[in-house]
Symmetry: C2
DNA sequence: ATGAAAGCGCTAACAC
DNA sequence: GTGTTAGCGCTTTCAT
């Protein structure tokens, strides 16, 4: 064993020595740069395979001042909606040559904050953030210090960034209207954290539809888990004049409401119609099949990743963009319909100025 | 703007200058090391906040030769089973001070291979791998070169590593036996890729139960998606003497089989009993509720991460361990039962030598 | 076409 | 206690 094959992984220095060339030449070959003789290229290549050399990207990043890594701070990976989103992000980042640092905030502001600090230390070039429900204006400094941030699913409070969301209000309004068209007059809304952006928007759409029909809203909030959603549904179903239809705010809530409906022995949609925001896996084998607003989870992630990378590579550096992606209203049976139809949500995913 | 606040993020050198101390002292304060005067500590701290200094972990890693990052190469993030697994891994890694590099192989060997190379370059200290269905003996060199690998969900072909799986065969056998106990004699098995480890193991359990009862197996393989699972179920249901029960190999297959059963107008469990491997979200609001083998997805991820970190920190360096975690048989109604019961699978998650 | 040398930001001997 | 200095592995002028 010669001196250049000692402890640890071989460095480019080892490769150079082994091939009998300078470090510069070795580096050129490693990075596929021109201006190296055929023969030297071969010698270096041979040394590389022989030694099992692999470039150290950390050292490289230190020198070129680019980590080529992007961080994803996600709310909850075990939620299929975010899972699909993350999968699309991962693909997009990889295809553009970036690595993905994964962080799960579990919707907790303090975990998120700690992560954001860590990611700065780790030299993430950009951050894809599904922000927790708190003020983020403390990040203004970091932003001006050069780190790019793109928000997903909800805008970041107190920070102007690129952002990609879905047409929550429009979709919720259309779905509620659909229930009204079926003749329902008492339609309940069961939502998660009251101040959560998506909840606020969806509630707005729901209320706007009801107002248009001169009906009174029936709202239950704070259903942050399947269990609490179930309890919320129970409470609403035990009213003196219970609703004949329920609009559920997300997939967790949907499961809880379905459980409560079963327990109460209600037949859907005869006794209780249901329309859900967010598709769920077994929606089409449920009896009756579930009518849902399907979110473009993958497109959401992909768009966000693309926008971030555009910023990182200087392809865009203007004012913060907000992209609103269309949902799909999948009409099945739980709303009272018989046939399955898919309606494209209004407005395409065009770049729009911030909404009114 | 003084000279130490010029372009880019401030370095420890800037901090030292700003505080009027040496770089070493600044470094000591940054890393919370002892032997620094109270007063200097304060001065350095002040400089840090004033400058907005953040340690560059890449540079640090280069020096201390540790990246403190772990890579997760996962099959499919949009599958809730892997999502839950990933969430647990993320938590475990964070709590131990490691960052997580996320890579999705999409079950494709070439993507996986490219990632493995990249991760080496990125100086990942260890790899958590849900391996694709190929021979991995090319990784032997990397392994001896010092990178630690732990397999999840299935062992790595051609590579002896720590590994954590569930009791596939035992669980499948018990579930099949349950169907036999209900009086079924024609029980079909619908599985994914024929050579996939989990498929092989589950099939083994299924066949062993049938053999014990003197019944003939009815097997359909290659159902790698919901659609193909549905077609497989259709084909099996159109046999001259169709099965009266189906054992589904994973959550994708389950959905496809359920679809096929609906289409065929079969009433479950009267016309067709179903037992599924892997829990699904709406299993308990389906009518009838679905009897499933629940996998400990989070525990799987957590155990794997813990084992990897033990290796990285020298807490264990013995022979490859294989951990087999118990599943839970959740008896609901699709099997023909009426009550809901949970049976702990046999054998705890004890460390065992490689299986026979 | 090739190489010598400087230095990215940091830590850790080692000297004072 | 504090500071000087030598690299970690790499890229990149700038000579030659």
């Amino acid at each position: 064993m010669s001196v250049d094959e000692r402890r640890g992984r071989p460095t480019i220095r080892d490769v150079a020595r082994h091939a009998g060339v300078s470090i510069t030449t070795a580096s050129r070959v490693v990075n596929g740069k021109p201006y190296v003789q055929r023969e030297l290229v071969d010698r270096v290549r041979a040394a590389i395979t022989e030694l099992g050399y692999r470039r150290n990207d950390l050292a490289r990043g230190l020198k070129v001042r680019r980590s080529r890594s992007i961080a994803l701070v996600i709310a909850d990976l075990s939620n299929p909606f975010y899972g699909a989103c993350a999968a699309a992000i991962e693909e997009t980042c990889r295809s553009r040559g970036y690595s993905l640092l994964l962080c799960s905030s579990d919707e907790k502001p303090d975990i998120e904050q700690a992560y954001l600090q860590l990611l700065l230390q780790r030299q993430a070039e950009g951050i894809l953030l599904i922000p927790t429900d708190r003020d983020h204006s403390d990040l203004v400094d970091e932003q001006t210090a050069g780190i790019e941030i793109v928000a997903i699913d909800r805008p970041i409070q107190g920070l102007a960034t690129d952002c990609v969301v879905v047409d929550n209000d429009v979709a919720a309004k259309a779905a509620t209207q659909h229930l009204l068209d079926h003749g329902h007059s008492r339609i309940a809304y069961i939502g998660a954290a009251p101040t959560l952006y998506t909840n606020v928007e969806r509630l707005r759409g729901y209320e706007s539809a009801l107002a248009g029909a001169g009906r009174a809203p029936i709202v239950r909030m704070g259903a942050a888990s399947v269990g609490s959603a179930r309890r919320a549904a129970q409470s609403v179903l035990q009213m003196k004049d219970p609703p004949t239809a329920i609009f559920t705010m997300n997939n967790l809530v949907t499961v809880g409401v379905l459980q409560a409906a079963h327990e109460a022995g209600l037949e859907v949609p005869r006794d209780l119609a249901i329309v859900a925001f967010d598709d769920v896996v077994l929606a089409d084998v449920l009896r009756p099949r579930l009518t849902v607003i399907r979110q473009p989870a993958r497109e959401l992630g992909e768009a966000a990743a693309r926008m971030l990378i555009e910023r990182l590579e200087g392809a865009y550096s203007g004012v913060p963009r907000i992209v609103r992606l269309p949902t799909t209203f999948v009409v099945r049976e739980s709303c009272g319909c018989h046939a399955e139809t898919q309606l494209e949500g209004p407005r395409g995913g065009s770049l729009q100025a911030a909404r009114s």
